[in-house]
């Protein structure tokens, strides 16, 4: 993902996240990476902390057409 498009995807994710009820954020599994499940909250944490893993998560969500 190029930097520009990464920022766009990050914004897209945050907008979607902002519109989710709290219970959905904490319980709804939205991603599997290396066979491990991640909820919306777990993805948000990584993305918010600008981790490499967060970037990987966003890329995967984008590729799967989930965001």
């Amino acid at each position: 993902m190029a930097n520009d498009s990464f920022e766009e995807v990050k914004i897209k994710f945050k907008k979607i996240f902002a519109n989710l009820p709290d219970k959905v954020r904490s319980e709804d599994i939205i991603l599997i990476i290396n066979k491990k499940p991640y909820t919306w909250n777990a993805v948000f944490f990584e993305v918010e902390n600008n981790s490499e893993f967060g970037k990987k998560m966003l890329k995967k969500l984008d590729e799967l057409g989930l965001i």
Partner: protein, 216 residues
């Protein structure tokens, strides 16, 4: 004018057992309101008997429970309504608590007449607790889906028009979605899965034809 309600409720698997139980609550309510009810339960929900009844008694309201697909509705292990005998349903108030009949059959039923069809364009689905499968009345999980669904018929029986019945049912589904969203996961695990199916029914419930159709 006497209102005549026909109910088909086959009972040959867990799903139809639950639908049949919930339909019995509607039947009781209808009889309390002096509506003439013909209850085609179990094997009685067959094409021959149902067709004969409709031709003879001309019911103004039809409540179909069970399985279906885009262009047919099932009774006891057989199709009872399809595009072939769609004329049997025309001009009536119909609620089909079945899979997907809203996608095609429902639209065809109301063409060129004053009838109304409420049903589903996706499979009508519900979670239930296996431990209560022999006693659906005790199952609080299934209630989340089947009480709002029953509300279509209960509203019609109380004299509401078809649009009102449809909206009331959807409002109850919404209420239950909100209820699920405040459940504690520890006390009621699986809330996301429950929510998703309720959404499926909400999004899938459709109404075609005369929105002002009601019992006389």
């Amino acid at each position: 004018m006497i209102n005549v309600l026909i109910v088909t409720r086959p009972k040959y698997d867990d799903g139809t057992e639950y639908l049949s139980y919930y339909a019995s609550l509607v039947i009781k309510e209808a009889r309390d309101k002096n509506i003439s009810v013909s209850d085609f339960e179990g094997e009685e929900a067959n094409k021959g008997d149902v067709t004969k009844f409709i031709e003879k008694r001309n019911p103004n309201i039809v409540f179909v429970n069970g399985h279906g697909n885009e262009d047919s509705l099932y009774g006891h292990k057989e199709i009872i309504f399809s595009m072939d005998n769609i004329n049997l349903l025309k001009g009536r108030l119909i609620y089909a608590r079945a899979c997907s009949a809203g996608a095609k059959l429902g639209k065809g039923v109301v063409k060129g007449n004053n009838g109304c069809f409420i049903g589903y364009k996706y499979p009508f689905s519900f979670w239930f607790d296996e431990k209560w499968s022999a006693k659906p009345s005790n199952d609080n999980i299934a209630k989340l889906y089947l009480e709002p669904s029953n509300q279509v018929m209960l509203s019609l029986i109380k004299g509401k028009n078809s649009q009102e019945a449809h909206e009331k049912s959807k409002a109850l589904m919404l209420e239950n979605m909100k209820r699920i969203l405040v459940l504690e996961e520890k006390k009621e695990p699986g809330t996301m899965g429950m929510l998703q199916i309720l959404w499926n029914n909400f999004d899938g419930q459709v109404i075609y034809g005369n929105f002002f159709a009601r019992l006389e």
